[in-house]
């Protein structure tokens, strides 16, 4: 099976390090370290496992700048056969639709049976996969936590739905799937593995090579515009509830209700 996995280079926000700049134009990026989006990593591992079992190859693609190369290379160190970078100043500032349009052009440049992406990335929008599928007019399933290849025409998948339940579907190929964390246990990639693929060639395509209309992507084509970043007012430390146990309990219940803690 020829599988394309879309990956994104995102800041590591594990340790609550994200701070917003004074002018709100962006988050502070100087101290940030970047790595592959966790969901995308699960998708690449899944693709590698599928290909290990049923043959084929895995191509990893990303949209970005030359900084993004480290992410593609790391996924190749993990076991992806090919890498592909889509770089063009015209792509900057794209909204979800723009990203999907660029990826669509890349998909159509190859002959893929399956396109995977992570269920969501740093902006938590969880939209690119679904948009890409619609642009390609391919069937789609999100939050996939299980993939079972059957014949060449369709695959069986499990989607994670509320309550920890799993929705089993059969979906025709070619299709787009967005992958949920926990679908597998990604293998470890160490410095050694990355050094081994250090000199592998990764092709780079720009808007012209992809045949993408610059007006439809990038800042120019974005329909959703970010006005600013901000941090909503937060109190300093906990608000300590005072009063008798009854009073405290009552106040707490109000707060819990408001925050959706009481079902």
């Amino acid at each position: 099976m020829e599988i394309l996995v879309c990956v994104k280079r995102v800041p590591d926000s594990a340790e609550n390090e994200i701070e917003v700049k004074g002018d709100g134009s962006d988050i502070k990026r100087d101290d940030l370290v970047y790595s592959v989006n966790e969901w995308d990593n699960y998708a690449v591992e899944e693709a590698i496992q599928i290909v290990d079992r049923s043959g084929g190859s895995v191509t990893v693609v990303t949209i970005g700048s030359e900084d993004s190369e480290e992410v593609v290379r790391r996924e190749m160190a993990m076991g992806a056969n090919n890498g592909l970078m889509l770089v063009d100043p015209a792509f900057e500032g794209s909204d979800g639709r723009g990203i999907a349009a660029i990826l669509k052009a890349a998909v159509q440049k190859g002959t893929y049976d399956l396109v995977l992406c992570g269920a969501q990335a740093d902006d938590g929008a969880a939209q690119v996969g679904g948009m890409l599928a619609a642009l390609l007019d391919w069937p789609y399933a999100s939050l996939v936590n299980k993939i079972e290849v059957q014949d060449g025409k369709k695959i069986k998948i499990g989607r994670e739905i509320e309550g920890g339940n799993q929705e089993i579907n059969e979906i025709e190929l070619p299709c787009v799937l967005s992958i949920q964390t926990g679908i597998n246990e990604p293998r470890y990639v160490g410095i050694r593995g990355i050094r081994k693929v250090a000199s592998v060639e990764i092709p780079v395509l720009n808007a012209a090579a992809l045949g993408v209309d610059a007006a439809a992507v990038g800042k120019a084509g974005a329909r959703v515009k970010r006005l600013d970043y901000f941090v909503p007012q937060a109190g300093a430390g906990a608000e300590m509830l005072q009063g008798s146990t009854d009073e405290i309990a009552a106040k707490l219940i109000d707060l819990l209700k408001a925050k959706g803690g009481l079902k």
Binding site: E15, V33, M78, P186, Y188, G190, R192, G193, R195
Partner: protein
Amino acid sequence: MQPALVSPASASFLGIPAVFIYILIPLIGIGVFAYIMRRRIEPLLKAAPDHRFTRYPERVRAVLKIWLAQWRHPRYLLAGILHIVVFFGFLTLAARSTQLVILGFVDGFSLPGFGGAFGHFYSAAKDYAGTAVFGSAVILAVRRLAFKPARYDVPERYGKDHTPEAILVLGLICTLLVSESLFDASLVAAQAAAGQPAHWLPPLTLGWFFRHLLAGASTAALQGIHLAAYTIHDLTFFFFLCFLPMGKHFHVITSIFNVFFMRLDHGNVKPVRHGVDESKLDELKSFGVKTFEDFTWKHMLDFYSCADCGRCSDRCPANRVKRPLSPRFISIKARDCCFKLYPLWGRTQEESKALIGSIYSEDEIWSCTTCGACEQECPLGIEYIDKMVDLRRGMVDEGMVPQSLQKPLSALEKRGNPWGKLEKKRVDWIAGVGEGCRVKLFEKGEAAETLYFVDSITSYDDRMQKVAQATARILCAAGVDFGVLGKDEKDSGHEVRRFGEEMLFQTLKEQNTEAIKAAEVKRIVTADPHAYNALEKDYSGLPPVQHISEVIVDAVRSGRLTLTPGDNGSKTYTYHDPCYLGRHNALYDLPRQAIDAIPGIRRAEMTGDCRDRSFCCGGGGLMLFYEPEEEQRMGVVRVKMAQEAGADVIITACPFCLVNIEDAIKVAGLEGRMEAIDLCELIDRHIQR
């Protein structure tokens, strides 16, 4: 004078001179033995290199102390004494056995130098030796069959019980001793009956007993016994010789070599491949041990030498808390795997399978805390830590790293600490040091004589930051001019290396070495034993490294530091030896001296479980992130030991020990009754300012 009995060399069976048989037996025996040894050596020729042909004087000393003087045996007193008896008995009887073999075809043979007075002395010695060995063998058999010491148990997943093999060998030994004694006794009895001068059998020896037992026997019977005993001895001897390389008694042959080549240093880790410099690691196709032949020849020799005594597993903390690791079976399983891959008949198996997934499981190998209790205990000089590290290197190379460890490894790569916290927050602890104590920052270009290497946990963990602050105050009070690397300090990488991620370790080491060199300090001080061990053993080209206890003791002795009296015995303190200070660096006394420098402090030892028998707290570094399968926590076992020693406070000199023990106190429900404190915190509290 006609000899009282026909000797073996002069005998004949059914017209054939027995000499033929008595030449044939040794010939076949030695031939088979040589063949077996040839097959046993084969894997060692294919093994990875190991540079052990160095430091001969130390090696000879090791052989004299550990092999000849059986130095480690009395640590398990009864078994130890019995083994010493058997060992010296075997050594003593070696000459006699050789003589006996040759007696089969050279009548009246005696080894050169064994005639005359020495010969008589030797004869008595070997008789007492043989009797003592016999007695020991009987006790050992009873012990195995009736008392069944726990460390010999074979858990179901490791297969069948090993007792039959043990009893067989004891039986063979007894057969040899009995037959040798009967051979002598029958002759003496016959000589006495014939009125000839008889060889003197020392009283209360086996021979002496048999001689009296045979007092009334007929000459024919004695003759029969004489030759039968000889033949049985001959056959048994060569059977035993050929049996040795088939199981745990291979150690009889390999032990001297295994001890000669044993590890001489503690705390260090073998290079990825001997002979390949660190700068050339990228050229290696494969890292670590994945198949059997990836082990070094010394490690293979270790597998051969394992005597299945179970002492390693008995002291292993992972085994104690029922993690899936038992060091004894690491050796036994590998040995059995080797025997299968290199069978005595049939061809060597072409393709060696991956060890992980066949004889070892992933969790088995990740469970090891590298505490070194196993290696400390082993009377045969078998090493384990390097094997664990090598197996882990192999797993890392294949991407088989537990998810729980992948995050901290990734964080170490990106941020230089396993929690992924910001580099600049590494110095946040300095704010809490207090007035009057200045901590210089090399990252800001300041200069000082001493570097205080804090390492990650002490820098970032809320609880451990207090230890960093206490350490800084001690250094100030002791008049030490010191600074810290600040955000230029990376994790020492100690566990990164021991968990098999060698390249990440090399990266951290390079970064730290550069920062340390740039600081231009004359010495390094640390309160973290893992950092201490890393800087001492894994790094090179650095100024001398000291543990804080050395600084404390030095300062107290020179009067720069005065300690105020303690609570005058109202609490009992006990010191827990951290693995990486104690066993791996032999720093047992300095921390104790530092504690005892507090006037009036009452300190008790966890006797039997202290110093080089200290019980690991649970492990440090990456081990804090690993999710083991275990029945209880190592820390809880340790806290209970402290309780039994009558302690109210456990002092430890390692941040990981402190974390594990404080957690364990809560888990064991001893909050309020047991406390844990770091050495630096304790000293800091008692500094006279």
